[in-house]
Subunit: 312 residues, 2 copies
């Protein structure tokens, strides 16, 4: 796991002027920073052919990483749980991500680090024989729901598609198994909604495509405890909720509880804390989402907090 002398670190003198559209993003492939349009992975990598991969996404806002140590913690844990190891250590990963962001010139960015099983040995079907690979990319910051979407009012559909169960894939390992989430999204579009939240086999809501979910009723905030990624923005939302005097519970959340809640919001690195105005076409509470709006303000203020954010 530790960085050997053979590790090639990206060149920090990479010259953006050479490439026209570097602000579209960059990739880190085989030890080099390249424009995102040239960032490619081998078709034989089992990270693609078996979705045998883990990843994490940290964001940069106003030239500062937000909670990068939490994301690195989770990424290192995910790799270990999948029996993966790479040539870069934690400090080198942090450094690579920073160099990629600098090369892109982006002030607000979506920064993804990836570890794949790698390309199998000839005629081998044994994952233990693969050399695991590290990739990364940086693209402009993106939103599950933009601020405009939020102001207009985001419509959530409770999908009957069941999220892949923890008995099959450990959801605390951030992974690319999204076919259920994509199917949920298509169902949501068919219902005139923007986003889908999936359920577990008992009819509790769990998570959506890249986001966790919360319901606020009175002074109580609930969020699903099982079958979900332990999101870093989820964690931030829980901390901020306690800060403003709300009581937070991680437990099963039946679908019906969303409909009767005063407020519903979602959390994601891609957009932070985002209010949901309609669930299954029903207006939630009085539609003002006062606690959520307060949490959203605090979330963006926290991006100046030197404990939670650091300059790239």
């Amino acid at each position: 796991m530790s960085g050997e002398a053979t590790v090639t670190m990206p060149n920090s003198d990479y010259n953006p002027a050479v490439h026209a559209n570097l602000s579209n993003g960059v990739g880190f492939i085989e030890g080099e920073i390249v424009p995102i349009s040239e960032a490619k992975i081998p078709i034989l990598d089992w990270g693609f052919l078996h979705s045998d991969a883990t990843y994490d996404v940290v964001h940069v806002w106003n030239n500062r990483f937000f909670r990068i140590e939490d994301h690195l913690d989770r990424f290192m844990n995910s790799m270990e749980k999948l029996n993966m190891a790479i040539d870069f250590d934690r400090g080198q990963i942090r450094e690579i991500l920073a160099r990629c962001v600098k090369a892109s010139g982006l002030k607000d960015a979506y920064v993804e680090m990836i570890c794949t099983r790698g390309v199998p040995a000839a005629n081998s079907r044994d994952p233990r024989r693969c050399k695991n690979r590290f990739y990364a990319f940086v693209v402009p910051f993106s939103w599950v729901a933009t601020r405009q979407d939020q102001d207009r009012g985001v419509r959530l559909h409770i999908s009957s598609v069941q999220r892949i169960a923890p008995q099959s894939v450990d959801p605390t390992i951030k992974n690319y198994h999204w076919l259920d989430l994509v199917r949920g999204q298509y169902d949501a579009y068919a219902e005139g909604a923007d986003l889908a939240v999936l359920s577990d086999m008992h009819g509790n809501v769990v998570e959506g495509a890249g986001f966790n979910i919360f319901a606020v009723t009175g002074k109580t905030v609930v969020t699903p405890s099982k079958g979900v990624l332990k999101g870093i923005t989820r964690k931030t939302a829980m901390e901020l909720s306690e800060q403003i005097g709300l009581e937070v519970h991680e437990r099963d959340v039946p679908a019906a509880e969303l409909l009767s809640a005063d407020e519903v919001f979602i959390t994601s690195t891609a957009g932070g804390i985002m209010p949901i105005k309609f669930v299954n076409e029903q207006l939630i509470g009085n539609g003002l989402a006062e606690n959520t709006v307060r949490l959203r303000e605090l979330y963006w203020e926290a991006h100046q907090d030197p404990v939670l954010s650091q300059p790239v």
Copy 2:
């Protein structure tokens, strides 16, 4: 879905001499046949980042495709179920695959066709806005268990990992969601076994990493009916079983039934019909697997049948 005039078909005059290792395989990427070592896909393709993709694998044996029309049927159906469409029609896909095999010079080959969601529009998280992509590759034929493995005796481990449920991902859409299968494989290795078969939530066996499973007891053959890919080799094994006077049932197969069976075998395009000698370290039946051995003979003989196989 139909082939427009803009479709670039691969050049059949591709010169293998230009590249040293073309017999390692070739890829079909953005309309061109390239050596497999140069076959790469964009890191941003949601086929990778969301495993939002479907695929199929047909094999070539002694310069003949085996059941290619069955594989094309399934591939076309899988794309439709995922709301995907590509610029190539069925005839063009067949032609591309043949040209790739010819370019590789391989007589026995593993031929994979892939459709991915594609690269998202800038700042979009909407899969409907993606242009779906078609890729293919050809590599030397590979085996879930080689003939040597089979002669030595393949050891199967019944895993407690649950295969991703049909309520989450439709298993009849051939897909890359393999993290459960990979975890099963690691458990199998830890138990000294070669392969893992996963279970459903009720304790029935379902499928393993790229294979279906069968048990033979007396004159009866059973194979799981639900939660599995409807394999083409599975179909062939069922047809051949009836041909030799066995009665075939598709139904739930409790794990215990494997242990008490006279014979257990697995089926895959990667290796055909392959006997299993040990399940959870227990010898199955008398270890001779006489029906399975007969089915395996018939399976390879069928590769000369002009109804089932055609020259590349």
